[in-house]
Amino acid sequence: MSHAENSLIQAAALCFSRNEERIFGPLDFHVHAGEALLVRGDNGAGKTTLLRVLAGLLVPESGEVLLNGDAFSHEAFVVLAAYLGHKHGHKAELTVLQNLRFSAQLRGLAEDAGLEQLIAECGLAGYEDTAAGKLSAGQNKRLSLARLKAQGSRLWLMDEPYANLDLAGIAWVNALIQAHVADGGGALISSHGAYAAPEVPVRTLEIFRSAAYA
């Protein structure tokens, strides 16, 4: 861990168990600014659980998560990072624009002009006033990625960002991550491994049940 002090997020001997069954760990890894870490593992290997632990939604059994070199705190996490779960995280009843506007307002950002442009960039132009529930699964994924981008966080925790996307969509996600990483951001991406990785400095963390090889 030579550059541990300038890593965005770092896990040290991180373990998680549910009902006394080890889900993953001990894991040691870090994500620097300007790089992406791809977490690969089969279904049920604990990728989602790992991301939820890193986001502070689950309490680790042992080990710790460091943010910017400091001990984990909820306040530090919400400032530093954005989390994209495998559920899309927006309301089906609200329109694309309403969903994005709400997310931006929660973070104290409020310019609609930027949001319109973002919607266009995400391939949802013309759907601004469509209820999210009427969009396809892939378009919903694009919307949640748009929200992630709108949050302007330095670290992205992305759980299966490629799910439900077509080839153009996958290329678009890769470009999105590439731009984010080039901008000095970091990304931690979980994937079951069937998709191409983004063309950025990428390291891979393989996790299996009860064991890890980084």
Partner: protein, 221 residues
């Protein structure tokens, strides 16, 4: 301040999209009040004796039925995760949800209460007491419900367990609420029960959002 307005705005526009749902607790309370004369007989004197109690129980059951909706849809589509990870205090999120929930489920039932009172021959002069006690009581029940619904959120089919946990906690609200109407009907002083409910409301307004936030984090673990 702007963030809490954004939260309220979102919850209100969500409720507006699902506005037909707001009619359901209203219709339910109406149905309960229609069932009673059918079971009890339509003698105005007899109905008048139990009118206050029946309307109170109808309110209580109606609020129980809609309780599970409070967080469930946000849990299912992942919005709750996003709210947990947003830079806003969770108690504020919950307070906004409870406020909107009360406006859209309890307020409609309150609005048809004069009609229910007419249906059950509630003695004249008792309606203001009933409305006052129900307004306070429904706020209390929404706040208590927010804590219980948060606790049971981790359980997939929580309808029955939610009712079993919430009903005992509603007991004091019912005792004081229906009690105030009964005292008024007997010509006894009834303001004491109202003040006690006000005190409970002051306590829960402060405590319930924090308790519910803690319960929510536990339930999602």
């Amino acid at each position: 301040m702007r963030k809490s307005r954004a939260l309220l705005q979102r919850d209100l526009s969500l409720m507006w999209q699902k506005r037909s749902d707001a009619i359901q607790p209203m219709l339910f309370a109406l149905m309960v009040c229609v069932m009673f004369p059918l079971a009890l007989g339509s003698e105005p004197v007899r109905l008048a004796q139990s009118a206050g109690a029946v309307i109170w129980v109808a309110h209580l059951l109606a609020s129980l039925l809609v309780l599970d909706n409070l967080y469930r849809s946000d849990l299912e589509d992942g919005s709750l995760e996003q709210l947990l990870l947003a830079p806003v205090p969770l108690p504020m999120v919950i307070a906004s949800k409870v406020a909107v929930h009360w406006l859209t489920t309890a307020l409609p039932v309150l609005l048809i209460t004069p009609l229910l009172a007419q249906l059950l021959f509630l003695p004249e002069g008792l309606l203001p007491v009933l409305m006052l006690s129900l307004t306070l009581g429904s706020l209390l029940m929404s706040l208590i419900g927010a804590m219980v619904a948060a606790l049971t959120l981790g359980i997939r089919r929580s309808g029955m367990i939610l009712a079993l946990m919430a009903l005992p906690m509603y007991v004091p609200v019912l005792v004081f609420g229906a009690g105030s109407v009964y005292s008024a009907s007997q010509g006894l002083p009834w303001l004491g029960a109202i003040w006690l409910m006000c005190a409970g409301l002051a306590l829960l307004l402060v405590l319930a959002p924090w308790a519910a936030a803690t319960a929510l984090r536990i339930a999602l673990n």
